[in-house]
């Protein structure tokens, strides 16, 4: 039974991912299929950031940096690995997908390590101070990536180069292009659904309650025997892992190039907006916000130069009408459940501590 409970989310995620690929995707054209992938990646980003900003109540604005770390790590592995295994950087289904999966998991782990390194000293800080540290981390990552060397694209050069040289040949300011397009709807939604199961289970588990207690009142939580720093670091590491996964999915998507400038703080803010709009602490809210905020700018494309103005106005009006986000801290399935009298009403998370 325990075994089944452990495996079932992955099985469910695989089934649902295949349903997305073969049931849902064929109804749309290639452009809308690409948007489906964008939505999936944004769901992973928003829900994972929600673990830190929503569950644990910390304010991180460096999520895109973890995404960049994971994306570059995974991208370097598939790109240079492909040259070693296949002799070129084209898509080779089968073996290539295995390489991509391995690279993605490694990318996630590298990002998780980065999350731990940043998290450990900085999570003793609170609120605005933590925000500044995460922002600073994001800028460090961006500048370091801009200083890397040009991507190599000749097989002979790559085979002659050492691992150290290859690890530094990440394209610099021009961006890391030329990665094989492995990201499919199946892969994207497999990771998205897996993360969703983890997040939902976490929210209702003892571990997750510890996260929430840190958010609600850190002093009270530590008085109850909760190691607040440890839980904050855990939230950070888990969020960074999935940000790294999202980075890898992003890196291998058709029509994207890893570019340090675009994975800077502006991208981080885009993710923060999704979390805030969905309601800090609401998983379904983050999902809905990710869907809406990915599709909205696309549907406004006809408005040409005015689209970003309209987009921003819509965001502002939504925040005025629903300052606690679309769902507040609740989930979509809890919307019409009246709060029990005994349960204390939580503070709207739109207001920072």
């Amino acid at each position: 039974m325990g075994y089944l409970r452990a495996v079932s989310p992955f099985l469910g995620a695989i089934v649902l991912a295949f349903v997305m690929q073969f049931g849902v995707a064929p109804m749309f054209g290639a452009y809308y299929q690409k948007l489906l992938i964008d939505i999936g990646i944004n769901i992973v980003l928003a829900v994972s950031l929600n673990l830190v900003n929503g569950f644990a109540g910390q304010f991180s604005i460096g999520h895109a940096a973890f995404m960049a770390v994971g994306g570059y790590a995974a991208g370097a592995i598939t790109y240079y690995g492909s040259f070693h295994v296949f002799g070129d950087a084209l898509v080779h289904h089968g073996q290539g997908d295995v390489l991509f999966l391995a690279a993605t998991l490694v990318g996630g782990c590298v990002a998780a390590v980065a999350g731990w390194v940043v998290g450990l000293p900085s999570l003793r800080l609170k609120g605005d101070y933590l925000a500044i540290v995460t922002l600073g981390f994001g800028e460090i990552v961006r500048v370091l990536l801009q200083l890397t060397d040009d991507v190599m694209f000749k097989r002979a050069d790559i085979e002659a180069a050492s691992v150290g040289t290859l690890a530094l040949a990440l394209g610099g300011a021009l961006g890391f292009g030329g990665l094989p397009f492995y990201t499919s709807i199946v892969w994207t939604y497999f990771f998205a659904f897996t993360l969703l199961v983890i997040a939902v289970r976490l929210k209702t588990s003892g571990e997750g309650r510890a996260f929430l207690s840190v958010r609600e009142n850190e002093i009270a939580a530590s008085a109850m025997g909760i190691d607040t720093t440890r839980y904050k670091v855990r939230a950070f590491v888990l969020a960074a892992f999935f940000a790294g996964i999202a980075g890898s999915l992003f890196a291998h998507e058709i029509g994207t190039t890893l570019n340090p400038r675009e994975l800077g703080f502006q991208k981080s803010f885009d993710i923060v907006i999704m979390v805030v709009l969905g309601g800090m602490g609401s998983i379904s809210g983050a999902v809905l916000a990710a869907i809406v905020l990915t599709l909205l700018p696309e549907f406004l494309r006809e408005a040409a130069s005015y689209r970003m103005i309209i987009y921003a106005l819509l965001l502002i009006s939504m925040m005025i009408l629903r300052p606690q986000g679309l769902f507040g801290v609740r989930e979509v399935w809890e919307l019409y459940r009246r709060p029990k009298v005994s349960r204390p009403q939580v503070r709207p998370p739109g207001s920072l501590p």
């Binding site: 054209g29 961006g175 994207t256 190039t257 599709l295 130069s305 009408l321």
Partner: protein
């Protein structure tokens, strides 16, 4: 408040729902133009550029140039009797947006060819999509060599970075009759290194001597050590293949050190900031560029006149390159047996001696443009047309 949330949610679901339903039939929001114009009488081409964002001036100039070319071709009856229709999208200077809009242009708007982008990183992102779908793309002004290396569908009408090294070498050797030149380049920049390598190769082949090779890193402020070494070799000129900020600072410090030599550079110098930084220290220096509005060739003068009549300003290099890219595409469309990706790409690839504003263009085997470059000289704080350098044979 109780009602508000369901209303918003339903509204958003309706928004996503209705537009999704329309997409398979090709009637999504992006293809409204398609239903208005009958397919048979128009040819659709796409453009992606940075109309907003930090490089907005690049995108807007290019767009103006393309629009001018489009107006002309339609006024003259279109291509093979069909009017050409342009679909433009803004990519905000972001590569992800570039990939998305190129996908949209190809799969929703069904364009036959794509024009764009200015920035090489964005051309790389969009170009890979175009290559994947087999739709030809012409970049007006992405000079990084990697762009056309994407594949056989990607072309450009500008020269590539290293080529300018040759241009400056030839100008220095043949026009200025220099034989001793020192080089000071930015080691952290592919652009600068590419120019330097090609310059040294060409200049030594033409019988010149490179006295010394020195380097700096972008952002450096003090160049006195390098300049002292250079001064010791007493060159007639110093080649500075970097950007205008460093070029300006180096010229200033060279003057202070009493290094008397002509400064030479590439299109990274092309900014009004150059004269602001260097003042009179940059007087008499030469740099290579894509085009000069003062060029006396009839194509240039006619283009400048038309552009000024339409937009009221002197066209910059990007506008000229946008205009050339569009006209070269129309020319290829006339010659192509059909507008299918492969035929059109073959027609573009076979372009020979096309009389464009930025010079006579031939497309080479690497899908790059072989064309002359212009050399400008700084006079009174302004760049002035000095010469045209023909490409190597």
């Amino acid at each position: 408040m109780k009602l508000l949330l369901p209303v918003i949610t339903l509204g958003l679901l309706a928004l996503t729902g209705c537009s999704d339903k329309g997409s398979p039939a090709g009637a999504g929001p992006g293809s409204q133009a398609a239903s208005k114009a009958p397919e048979a009488t128009t040819i659709k081409i796409g453009e992606f550029g940075s109309m907003t964002g930090s490089e907005a001036t690049f995108g807007q100039s290019t767009h103006n140039g393309i629009l001018l070319a489009l107006e002309e071709v339609n006024a003259a009856g279109g291509v093979n009797g069909k009017k050409v229709e342009l679909k433009s999208y803004d990519d905000q200077g972001k590569s992800q947006e570039a990939g998305t809009v190129v996908t949209r242009l190809i799969t929703e708007d069904k364009v036959v060819a794509i024009l764009g982008e200015v920035a090489s990183s964005l051309s790389l992102a969009g170009g890979r999509v175009a290559q994947q779908y087999g739709i030809p793309m012409i970049s007006p002004s992405s000079t990084n060599p990697q762009v056309t290396a994407i594949g056989d569908m990607i072309f450009r009408v500008c020269f590539i970075d290293p080529y300018q090294g040759y241009v400056v070498a030839k100008f220095a050797r043949e026009n200025l009759k220099f034989s001793k030149v020192a080089v000071l380049y930015d080691q952290g920049q592919a652009y600068s290194k590419g120019l330097k390598d090609d310059f040294i190769k060409a200049f030594t082949e033409m019988g010149g001597t490179v006295t010394v090779e020195q380097s700096y890193t972008g952002g450096d402020q003090d160049f006195s050590a390098q300049l002292t070494t250079i001064k010791g070799t007493s060159p007639e000129a110093v080649f500075l293949p970097g950007y205008y900020t460093e070029a300006g600072n180096i010229s200033l410090q060279a003057k202070k050190l009493g290094l008397i030599a002509t400064m030479l550079g590439g299109d990274g110098w092309d900014s009004s900031k150059l004269a602001e930084i260097a003042g009179d220290a940059i007087e008499g220096a030469y740099y290579s560029n894509h085009y000069a509005a003062e060029d006396t060739r009839p194509e240039v003068q006619e283009f400048v006149k038309k552009y000024q009549a339409k937009y009221g300003s002197v066209p910059d290099g990007l506008a000229a390159l946008g205009y050339d890219a569009a006209r070269l595409l129309f020319d290829a469309m006339r010659r192509a047996p059909s507008l299918a990706g492969k035929d059109l790409a073959a027609a573009i690839a076979s372009t020979k001696d096309f009389p464009a504003v930025t010079g006579v263009i031939s497309i080479d085997a690497e899908r790059n443009a072989t064309k002359p470059a212009v050399v400008l000289q700084m006079k009174g704080g302004k760049p002035v047309y000095a010469a045209t350098v023909e490409p190597r044979k």
